[in-house]
Structure formats: structure tokens, C-alpha cells
Amino acid sequence: MPRRNVLVLITIIIIFVLAALVVFPVNQGVLGKKGVRLGLDLVGGIHLVYQVQFPAGVGELDKNKDMDRAIATIQSRIDKYGVVEPVIQKQGSDRILIQLPGFTDLEEAKKLAEQTGFLEFREVELDKDGKPVYLRDYLNSDKPDFFNKKEAGSREFVNGETGNPIVFLNKDKDGVLKYVDEGGKPVDVDKLRQGSTNLPSWISGRGDDGIQLTGSFLTKAEANVNTSAKGAEASIGIEWNAQGATIFDQIARRLYNAGPYGTVQRALGIFLDNRMISSPQILEQSYGGKGSITGNFTLDEAEKLANLLQSGALPVALQKPPLYQGKVTPTLGADFIDRSVKAGLIGLLIIMLFMIVYYRLPGVLASLALIFYAVIILALFKLWPGGGVTLTLAGLGGFILSLGMAVDANVLIFERMKEELWTGRTLGAAIDAGFDRAWSAIRDSNLTTFIACGILYWLGKNVVASGPVMGFALTLFIGVAVSMFTAITVTRTFLHLFVGTNLAQKTSLFSAFKR
């Protein structure tokens, strides 16, 4: 046996042992790497893609900043939910991709992402005599202007029970008052008259210098439980930064002096995404930068709300419904894994059986090379740059398919070898001639699969529902590339072990069928 062959054999065995150490156990980290990473379709979870809507007139640079902030905001909201390895990424310049492994409540996930989390404080509009203004006042008024001319912003009227917005009153750029809904569409005035008109007109709460008080001045928000004589009540403790504290106290002082306790002009309207979550009475003239939002909510709701306030407002709006939404339950994913493993093992066994029956001894060696191949591939899946290959169902399919294709090079070589043996060459010469002659065909034929994989990879990168395509392309590519090495180097080295031994004389071992 030539010395070179022994060295190659030792190298192969070392690689095999190292690869096996990386692969097993399959779901644990080895060599500082985590277990095989599974795609959403196998582990279960939620996949959302949103179109981002930028406010009009935003420059490219600011768009980028807004995107980064929006992603950080969604990230911090989701972090509180204990989702393992969520993915929140920019897709293109104006899309956001959200993947939540193991999370299966689609509606909850959408709410988490879509809520802009815009917190604002409003107060009731007063006319020039200091009396509160109601919707009926506007409907009955023939004056085409706001009662409080100093405040030019929108008036909001909400359902007294749910706090949901009913109508907004805006002044357009020509100075005409318009009734619109939340989406900016005109609202029929006659319809408004039919409903309750006893709704206070909420205007933005502003500090003395005109700055509106919003959630962006918050430094802290956390859920609390207050136990009082009425029982346990959930609330949200908030803390302002210095500027917010000043503005808040200016508003508090104004409302405190606007009317006696219990009147609507003394209430502070707390609005989240245009919905009034509560309207507490102002009890003091100064709050010193701290406050508490009470409302009709459970502790769970208070915690979600605090999370939302803490993570801040989204700088952009997300278009509803999402461009793409997908959900797979973990049980279905586990079932897919089970079935793929079965398919892989059975496929592997049948292919090995076929090779052994047809090619005898070389078939046995090819089967060994195939097992070697499978272990190397699985190791590569774990070690692939970027934290391993994310295995999807289609990716597993690509791997199993590559098992069938991996023996292609062996078949080419063995067929050649048989021909060379028939012409009366010795085993060693036949092996080398077989490999040399088959090489050009092996190289050429794998090249086309590489081209196809490259195009598939591109396709996977450019379509939203990309999981299947990319996974398949990557596993097939790795599979075919490695199979060239294993089928050629490994099988050749194994075969050379028999050169010069007595077995080499028994040609029946090397081909089942004689010409």
C-alpha cells in the first residue's frame, strides 16, 4: 500500500471522528456552537412581513433612522415575551420582517408589532367662558371655527364606554372644519347627530410653551397592583424626564384650577393610539415627575401596556394587514421532523442496499462513503458561517435528495472501473483509470446543479416567502459539493486498500455482472 494512501486514510478517519463529534448530540452545542438550527416551519412559530408607511416628506437618511428605531422598538416589545431568538430585520428599504419561533398566537403577535404605542395626553376644550365644549356644540354651531382658537390641532370625540375614537374634527389647510374618522376619511354629519352627541371635545395637552405632552418624555413605566378597600387594582407607574415633568405640572396646575373635583374639565385624558385608556381627575397641582395611570384593566393588561409605553412609540406606521403572514404550530413542525428523519434513514438504507447488490465490494465502500458523507454534511450544517444552516422542511428534502445524487460520482467511476477491469487491467490500474476518465463527466455534471443552486439562492433571497427555496438551494449545494469530495477521495482511498491483496484477484467482488 503506498504511503500517500495511508496518510489520506488517516486524514479521512480524523475528519470523520471530528465531524461525528460536532454532529452528536444533534440538539446540543459542541465546540461552542448551538445545535442544528431549525427553520420556523419545523420548530413552529410566526412569520410576518410588514410594509412600512413613512410620514410624508421624510428624507432617505431619516427613513433609515426611522426603520432602525422601529426595529429596535418592536424588538424591545417582543423581548418581554420571552421568545427565544426572535428575528426582527429590515427587508429592502421599507419592509420589516418579524419571525417569532415557538410563538403561535398570530393575532397577539400582530398586535404586538402593529401597535404604534403613541401615548398622548389630552384635556377637554373650553370655550371663552371656561365651559367645556361638547360634540353637540360643534354640530349646533353655525360658526365655522374652533371654540378655542388658540389650539389648532384636531379635536377627538370618543365612545364614553370603550374609549374608542368616534370622530375627529380637523381644520384643513383652507381653514375649513372637517369631520373625519381615524383613517382620515370624511364622516357623515347626519349620522353623527343620530348617535350620542354628549361627548367632550378632547384637545392636545400642552405645556406653557406649546409643546405637546407625549410618551416620548417617559423614562419609566411599570405595572403595579394597588390594594385598596375596593380590592386589588392594577395601575401603571410612570416617571417623566425633566422636560416632561415640567410640562406635566404645567398641565396639572391648569386643570386643577379649571373646575371642581369630578367635573370633566378637571380630567386628564390618557390616549394610546387614539384610544382613551383612562381619564383620571387631577388631584394635585404638582406631581414632581411621577404619576400613575389607573384604568379599568387587569394586571396582565397593565403589564402589556407598561411594556408598550416603556418600549416607546413606533416612529412609523405599519400597513395592515401584513404583506405576508405565516404560522405553523410546534406540533406540526415536530411531526415534519419525525417524518423527514424516517424518509432520510429509509432512503439511505435503500440506496446503500442497491449499491451493494449491484456493485458488490465497491458498493459496500460507496455505502461507507455515503455514511461519511451524511455525517460531514450534518457537521457542516452546524458549522456553516452565520451560526449554522437554518434547516427547513424543504432544506431537509434537499439533503435527502442529495443522498441519492451523491452516489452519482461513484456510479460513474465504478462503471468505468468495470470496463477497465474487463480489458484486463489490474485493480490498481483500473481504479486510477476509472477515476481519471470519469472526472470530467463528474465535474461537468455537478456544475449544472451548482448553477441551478445559485439561481435558487438568488430567488430565495428576493421573495418574501423564501424559507423553502433558500433552504433547499443551500442544502443541495453543500450536498453536491461535499459529495464530489467523499465519492472521489474517500471511495478511492478505500478501494486502494485492496490493491495488492488476495481479494484484488477476485474480480467477481468488483462487479456483479459480467459482459
Partner: protein, 295 residues
Amino acid sequence: MIDIVSKRFWLLSLSGVVLVICIVAAVVLGLKPAVEFKSGSMMTVSFAQPVEQAQLKQELANLGHANALVQRTEGGSFLIRVRELSGDEKVQLEKDLADKFGQITENQFFSVSPLIATETVQNAGIAVAASLVGMLLYIAWAFRRISKPFRYGICAIIALLHDVVIIVGVFAILGTILGWEIDLLFVTGVLAIVGYAINNAIVVFDRIRENARRGISSDFSVVVNSSMVQTLTRSLNTSITTIFAVLALMLFVGSSLQNLTMVLLVGIVAGTFSSVFVAPLLLVVWEGAGWGWKR
């Protein structure tokens, strides 16, 4: 040695008949696009009590989804495809189904907007076009050394189109009978087949090239025949091992990958036939041996 070349009329006719059937099926029946390509919502649901497919379809029609597609999958669950549902509509639909059939479990849900669907179709089209160009360039490169690269190239391309047409035809028929729709996995399968099937043609042509150089016969038909016979076992064996892998996937993984595995199965069978028989036999015809029709 078996004489394959003399039977070329029948082998090519067989291929021609299958092609005609597939072209007619594709033109008349057409392909049905899945939600990825035409937008809409798709869900996999299972019920605690046994439910008939027809019952479910009827109930969906009653609920205003007359065009809903219902397909039974493994483990007694159903794949339902409807137009794009809003969040509220989806909750309502599941509630209505639960009212009618009892406890319902949603295992999978996908919803694709029209914008994404249009993009996906465009990108899939670009990918298919790019792969065809890629294969053309590859063929031009692979045959650069032989005397008539153009003829070899055209025959290989005909073999390739042959496979794609048969895949499309089979899916047009499956779409009509079983309601199968084409999606990204279908395109993935087609691209993989385009890359795979051409390999066999390359191997046969490679051998023709080698045998012609060695001058085993002055008759081109004889050169091609012995090249075909020499490479036949190899081509069949590599296809068989790959088909084993595909069948294992079909049997065990089932409907989730059905489009991919079916494309691969049909593509490998058609691709093996076209590259082992059609491409070299067309070359023989083109080199002046005629169609070989004998009474």
C-alpha cells in the same frame, strides 16, 4: 450489443406522443397558481370529530367562500385555500366552522398580499429565465471542444425543454383532477431538474466525443449506439438512486413537499429518457441517418 439507434423512430415517437399530450393538457387545462402567486390565505385545520371533505366544502360555500379549495392531508386534517382574509374574517371563519363541526385546531396559516404575489411571480420568472440562459451558456462551454457544438447544444436544449413541458403537462392534469396548485416549491423543483437532467445528456455526449476521437467506427450511428449502450447503466443507476430518495420523501413527508417531490419524480424520469434516448437519437437523425422509420 443492443441496437438502440435502429429503434429510434419508435423511441422518438413515444416521446413525441407524450409531448403532444402534455402540451395539449397545458394549453387546455392550464396551471393553477397557489396563494404565493395569486395572493390569498391558506390554512391547515383539523377537527376533533370526523368531517367529510364535501361537507367542509359545502359549509365554506355557505359562509361565502364558494371558490374555496379543500384538500385532505395526512392525519385527517384539511388544507383550505380562500381569498386573503383579514384578522377579523379569519377569527370569524374559524368560529363559524367550530360552530358547525365542533372543536377545530389550526395547525398552519399563511396569508399573502397581492403585492407580494406579484413580486413572487416576477422573481420566479426571472429565476426560470436566468436558469435557461445559464444552461445555454453552460452547454456552449461544455461542447466548445467538439466539432459541431451547435448541433450537440440544440439537441441538449430540446431534451431540456422536453422535460419542462412534461412537468408542466403533468401538473396541468394533476391540477384538474386533484386540485394541485403550483407554488415556489414547484419552481424550485423545476430549476433543480433543469440542473440535474442535463447531466445525463452531458455524460452521453461526452462518451460520443471520446468514442468518435478513438475512431471506433466510421459510421456515426454505430459510434452513438455504442456510446449509448456504454453509458446506459450509469444513467439508469444514478437516476434510480435519486428516485429512491425522492420516493422516500414522497411516502414519508407527503403533502407539504408534494409539489417538489412530484416535479423531481416526473422530471427525473422524463429527464433520463430525454437525455439517454432523445438527445443522442436526434443527433443521429440530424447527422443524416434519417428518422429510421421501417415498416
